[in-house]
Subunit: 228 residues, 2 copies
DNA sequence: CACAATTGTCACATAACTGTCGCGGAGCAG
DNA sequence: CTGCTCCGCGACAGTTATGTGACAATTGTG
């Protein structure tokens, strides 16, 4: 199937150019003229890649990016940011927000096409599964839902990320420090014991679905999800 | 199966060059453009070798290296560091952090390919395995579990480390002092007889799995795991 | 702004683990 | 066989790690 690329760009001169070149390279393409429209189309048509203008009417490009990254249907959606020349700090903010690549306007179309290919090539391995099942627990990262034995489990954001991480590595033991690094992020400083509290909350929530505690405590080492 | 090489490099000129050459030598190759992406791919695809740029956006190469070495899924993952010319102190830090080799940019591709082959060929004896099997005992250091004849054995932290150490050197006899040094740590002072107690506890736990006592007492010398 | 949800810390109870003793039995030299 | 040393193991008190309810601060929402 042809990759589907969304162009979020308000200057029609630019979007027409991109449209032309992308179609020539045999992609499915759509154009959104402002941030609001972009978000809607992202939601409805789940693009494989977004070319996202930095400055967009209604909802800015950076805001669109942020929303995709935390809480969007597919947080791994590849994004190439289009920015005006210069603006070094903007570049950094763009990558910080989670863009996969950025291109400064005006740009060479061949270069941009190369980057598009590169990003799309990258998604194959990096792309995470939509659903993971371990034992009687099913996590759906697209719908952001967790099920256990037919019942839905409500989790807070942190507990969700925690469970998500555990389910990607069933059986493996993680130290509190490792969990803080990956689930919380390496830049935030919180007490290691905080992990305990969140594991406790996760356990409590998971208890709703019945069955035994799926999280194993390994004394003086950390926690692991019972795998297999 | 083809060895899988991960390139963690943000300059596309360099990564494209490496990509081209590595593919020509029939490796599976992937590119990560920043440290964060690199960590993700390391986690998900378990490369056989990483070409790691010293300077990487988001998470620096040295930080990536550090995280692999302590606490990664495979702490023995071979790493070749790519650094800018000069920077002798950086070199040293790179090797200190645990890189297996380093190459200064700009580099000769043939030389780099030779080093890649060399590192992949190299099999270090001290290499830690995820799982070790001796007789009917299996120790899984990632999941932190011990099995004997299909049954799981629960061990306290000290007993676990003790068994782990024994299983890395089956058959070899260790004095109480050696065990204290390695399993307990050279800085703590405890009575030598304490080892006896923990060996006893380990035996008792292992008895759960059936079979005969796998630990041999060598009078006036120490203990050893019956190997083969 | 009020309200609900979420988060990080703390304090305390409890469970798990640790190191030491001491007794009795096993191994060994003469 | 005797006397000595060395080792196994149950008991125990001290220490450490973990589970959890409470709470204030923060964030998101309407």
């Amino acid at each position: 199937m042809k990759p589907f690329v969304l162009i979020a760009e308000d200057e029609s001169a630019v979007s027409e150019l991109l449209l032309y070149n992308l179609k020539k390279e045999d992609y499915d393409v759509a154009v959104a003229a402002d941030g609001e429209e972009a978000l809607m189309m992202i939601d409805e048509r789940a693009p494989d890649l977004i070319l996202l203008d930095w400055m967009l009417p209604k909802v800015s490009g950076i805001e669109v990016c942020r929303r995709i990254r935390n809480g969007g249907a597919n947080p791994n959606m590849p994004i190439i940011m289009l920015t005006a020349r210069g603006e070094e700090s903007d570049r950094i903010r763009g990558l910080d927000t989670g863009a996969d690549d950025y291109v400064t306007k005006p740009f060479s179309t061949t270069e941009l096409m190369a980057r598009v290919r590169a990003v799309l090539r990258r998604i194959r391995p990096g792309l995470k599964e939509d659903k993971i099942t371990v034992g009687d627990i099913i996590i759906d990262r697209v719908a952001h839902r967790v099920m256990r034995n037919e019942g839905e489990i409500h989790l807070g954001p942190t507990e969700f990320r925690l469970l998500d991480y555990f389910m990607q590595h069933p059986g493996r033991v993680f130290s509190r420090e490792q969990l803080l690094d990956t689930v919380w992020g390496s830049d935030v400083y919180v007490e290691a014991r905080t992990v305990d509290v969140h594991v406790g909350r996760l356990r409590k929530a998971l208890r709703q679905g019945g069955g035994e505690d799926p999280i194993r405590t390994v004394r003086s080492a950390g926690y692991a999800l019972r795998g297999d």
